[in-house]
């Protein structure tokens, strides 16, 4: 038998690698574009998500509404139904990350492919995860964002990898200046400045570790995440049982070297024929290009044939569903649903809290877009199901008045898309003054930095002359801030800029937010203040 590898499949494999690189590049490009680029409207930088059927189905079940943009997920489903899981093998940027690191770990001899059919049982894990996610959605617990590959990838990059890149860049720039290469330093600093990378997130380290962990799993098994964990892959697996793309081994040419099955990226078992798992194959063409005798090929066959599938035990399916049913209420054990949390300031346009939680997929797109870095991933502020959902932390950054980027990039409509004109009318909270710490009130010194920064016109922070009693018994009269709640939109810039650095003398809470009918303060404030009428000048 003449030993020769297939040039055709080697070419297809190369094409697949190029395609993966292109889509990963596209992912990075769109992510790096997710910030203020000079335009008020930045276009559909979140479009990747809309091709994800898992997000479409899970959020549709949880919120009982299908978000219109998810119509694109139909493309993915149709491709999978017709041709198989090409999307996993050729498109998914997280799949590419895992495959790249599997390749690296193989080359580093950290990962040694072994034929281990006993790990085949693990293939079922992802189906159970998918089932748990969907059952959770049925009970309005939207956990899909934790495990969905795109959410996971975007979140990891936005809150961890990109800030790491920015810090590394800053160290590099510092080094350039240290070496007296200041023009190179200037150029690098300007480059980083243009990309708006100067963001840090309160769980950035932790979220990076999760990503690192997912990457290191590839030491154990090639594409560990894709094989065993990915619920989106599982969903596509369910849809790929009847497709026309098949893998066959020509037994006349086969020398039974087992290379194809050994190097199969997703344990789809191309050899022997009857054990090939259609639902696991991602059509990476590794088997066909590695085969020393051109025995493996990918015929297109319309007729359904008997194929092996992952063993899903009925017992376990029932057990998983039951577990999810039991677990779902646990995620609701939080007073967050009972009473609005003061510090839970959601982005402008966010749906009412229950709807918001059903739709938010924790992808961090809004946080990446936020120009002030004020949007941060929640830890426990919004209850257990609200982990990694966006919360405005005014001490870190405020809601920029003429900006509606977060509303534009939300892939699921958890944050309703707003025009700038609509956005500036949205009230997300209210500002309060702590007179015990406020410089004019407590120390009798001039300040009113909050008033200076208040972005509304007329300003929601005005000043009055107040008397402060000083320790020596004298009285100082000073301009001190007061808040006009009719005008305050809760943007938080007052809290961000307050010179009382640790615990601010002016702070924002969620009360009065437009999206809630319960979290109200004054009944007169139900109607947003009309700004059309010309108010009289408060300073004359």
């Amino acid at each position: 038998m003449k030993k020769e590898r297939s040039k055709k499949y080697r070419a297809l494999q190369l094409l697949r690698i190029i395609t993966q690189a292109v889509f990963f590049g596209l992912f990075l490009y769109l992510l790096f574009k997710t910030h203020f680029t000079g335009q008020d409207y930045i276009g559909r930088v979140e479009v990747f998500f809309h091709f994800d059927p898992l997000l479409a189905i899970a959020t549709a079940i949880a919120s009982r509404v299908l978000f219109a943009s998810f119509i694109l997920a139909g493309v993915t489903l149709v491709v999978t139904l017709v041709a198989g899981r090409y999307v996993c093998g050729w498109v998914c940027p997280l799949g590419s990350v895992h495959q790249f690191f599997s390749f690296v770990f193989k080359k580093a001899k950290l990962l040694k492919p072994r034929k281990e059919e006993k790990s085949a049982g693990r293939l079922a894990w992802k189906y159970y995860i998918l089932l748990a996610v969907l059952v959770g959605s049925l009970f309005t617990v939207d956990l899909v964002g934790i495990a969905d590959p795109l959410s996971f990838l975007y979140r990891s990059f936005a809150t961890g990898i990109i800030p790491w890149f920015a810090r590394a860049g800053a160290a590099f720039i510092g080094l350039l200046y240290g070496l007296k290469l200041s023009s190179a330093g200037d150029a690098a600093a300007q480059f980083f400045g243009t990309l708006s990378l100067n963001q840090t997130f309160q769980q950035g380290f932790f979220l990076s570790l999760l990503f690192l962990g997912a990457v290191l799993l590839n030491i154990s098994k090639e594409r560990f995440w894709c094989r065993y964990l990915c619920p989106a892959g599982a969903l596509l697996g369910l849809f790929s049982r009847w497709n026309v793309g098949k893998v066959r081994v020509d037994m006349d040419k086969c020398i039974k070297c087992n290379l194809c099955t050994l190097h199969c990226q997703t344990q789809a078992n191309p050899y022997p024929n009857e054990q090939w798992r259609s639902s696991e194959c991602v059509y990476c063409y590794t088997c066909a290009s590695i085969c020393p005798t051109k025995a493996v090929y990918f015929p297109v066959k319309r007729t359904p044939e008997k194929i092996a599938s992952v063993n899903l035990s009925r017992r376990r399916l029932i057990f998983t569903s039951a577990l999810a049913v039991v677990a779902a209420p646990f995620f609701k054990i939080t007073p967050a649903g009972k009473r609005a949390a003061a510090k839970l300031i959601r982005p402008p346009g966010a749906l009412p809290e229950p709807k918001f939680l059903q739709k938010c997929v924790k992808c961090s797109e809004c946080m990446k877009a936020c120009p002030t870095n004020g949007l941060q991933p929640a830890l426990d502020e919004a209850g257990p199901e609200g982990i990694w959902t966006p919360v405005l932390k005014p001490r870190i950054g405020y809601c920029e008045y003429y900006c509606s980027l977060c509303t534009q990039v939300c892939p699921t409509g958890a944050i309703k898309e707003l025009t700038i004109e609509e956005k500036i009318k949205v009230k997300i909270g209210s500002a309060w003054i702590n007179k015990d710490r406020c410089i004019p009130y407590a120390l009798g010194l001039p300040c009113i930095v909050c008033e200076e920064h208040c972005p509304t016109s007329p300003k929601a922070i005005k000043f009055v002359m107040v008397e402060a009693k000083l320790p020596d018994g004298t009285v100082a009269t000073q301009k001190a801030p007061v808040i006009d709640l009719d005008l305050c939109i809760g943007c938080g810039i007052c809290e961000t800029k307050c010179p009382v650095m640790d615990d601010p003398a002016i702070y924002c809470t969620s009360v009065g937010e437009d999206r809630s009918e319960k979290n109200r303060l004054l009944l007169e404030l139900i109607q947003p203040a009309t700004l059309t009428e010309e108010p009289k000048d408060p300073y004359k």
Partner: protein, 295 residues
């Protein structure tokens, strides 16, 4: 040289000795401050500089020029929170015409720099004229001795210090604490650190900064002025169309003239008095040569 030529030269020399100095003095007595009103921000800026004796009076060939506008806020030019981009563009062009080697336009903004630079229109306008428009860069921040009466030292962006020539280009705006923010207050955008703490003695602080930076030229943009709800406004009804540009070698006088555009008595601006006392400039405009023109 024969005797006749010698006699001629002597005579000419004598005449020059007699009348030359006064002629030179007359040529030298360009105004200290020019105030030009007109429809086009670019045209009045050009005219104001021409009235002061041209940009060559301030900029020598090969100079590194830094122009400091107010780009502090994420606002469009109609809202009069940031310096008019056409004024900046014209100044960049004039600087290059006067022989500047490079011109940099920058400011330490209050809102996100990317937004302020873009939405104010200044980055685009200045770049079109060939200026560099970098963001401030933390690595260029250096603690420096200001030797002020209140501010002894502060973190300063060295770009402003290393410039050969510095042009301050503020816009005249309402400000609750110091009443009006014009030229001297503009220097808060050239420094870093905890700027929000300067409010505790803002008048003294900004005079210290103005004394430290000492611009060669102040060009006050009063094309649109912000009459209330400053320093960022938000509605066009807060804005008054003044259609004026003031160019001055005296930073205090520039602020003094700026105050005149508002319904405010200059005595209410404490920093003007402090600056006058410190010898930074003149609040009494009658002591200066002022030229007013209309385009």
């Amino acid at each position: 040289m024969n005797r006749r030529d010698f006699m001629k030269d002597m005579a000419l020399g004598g005449v020059l000795m007699r009348y030359g100095p006064s002629l030179l003095a007359q040529a030298k007595s360009s105004p200290d401050l020019a105030m030009v009103t007109g429809e086009s921000p670019a045209a009045i800026t050009k005219e104001a500089l021409a009235a002061l004796g041209g940009m060559k009076r301030f900029i020598a060939k090969g100079d590194k020029v830094v122009i400091k506008p107010n780009i502090g806020w994420d606002r469009t030019p109609e809202l009069a929170a940031t310096t008019n981009p056409e004024v900046i563009k014209t100044l960049v062009e004039l600087s290059f015409e006067a022989g500047a080697k490079d011109v940099t336009v920058m400011d330490n903004t209050t809102n996100q720099a990317q937004r302020c630079y873009a939405r104010s229109g200044i980055a685009e306008a200045a770049k079109a004229a060939g200026a560099k428009v970098p963001f401030v860069n933390e690595f260029r921040l250096k603690k420096m001795a200001l030797k002020g009466e209140w501010l002894k030292e502060w973190e300063v962006f060295t770009d402003f210090v290393e410039a050969d020539k510095l042009i301050n280009v503020p816009i005249a705006k309402h400000h609750s604490l110091c009443r009006l923010t014009i030229g001297m207050k503009n220097w808060l955008g050239a420094i870093g650190g905890a700027r929000n703490q300067l409010h505790q003695k803002l008048d003294e602080g900004m005079v210290d900064l103005a004394a430290f930076f000492k611009p060669q030229l102040t060009v006050l943009d009063a094309y649109r002025i912000l009459t209330r709800n400053g320093p960022q406004g938000g509605r066009t009804s807060d804005v008054k169309l003044q259609k004026t540009v003031v160019a001055s070698i005296d930073p205090v006088a520039a602020d003094m003239v700026g105050a005149g555009f508002f319904e405010i008595r200059p005595e209410e601006l404490a920093y003007l008095g402090i600056a006058q006392k410190r010898g930074l400039g003149q609040t009494n405009l009658e002591k200066l040569t002022v030229e007013k023109r209309t385009v």
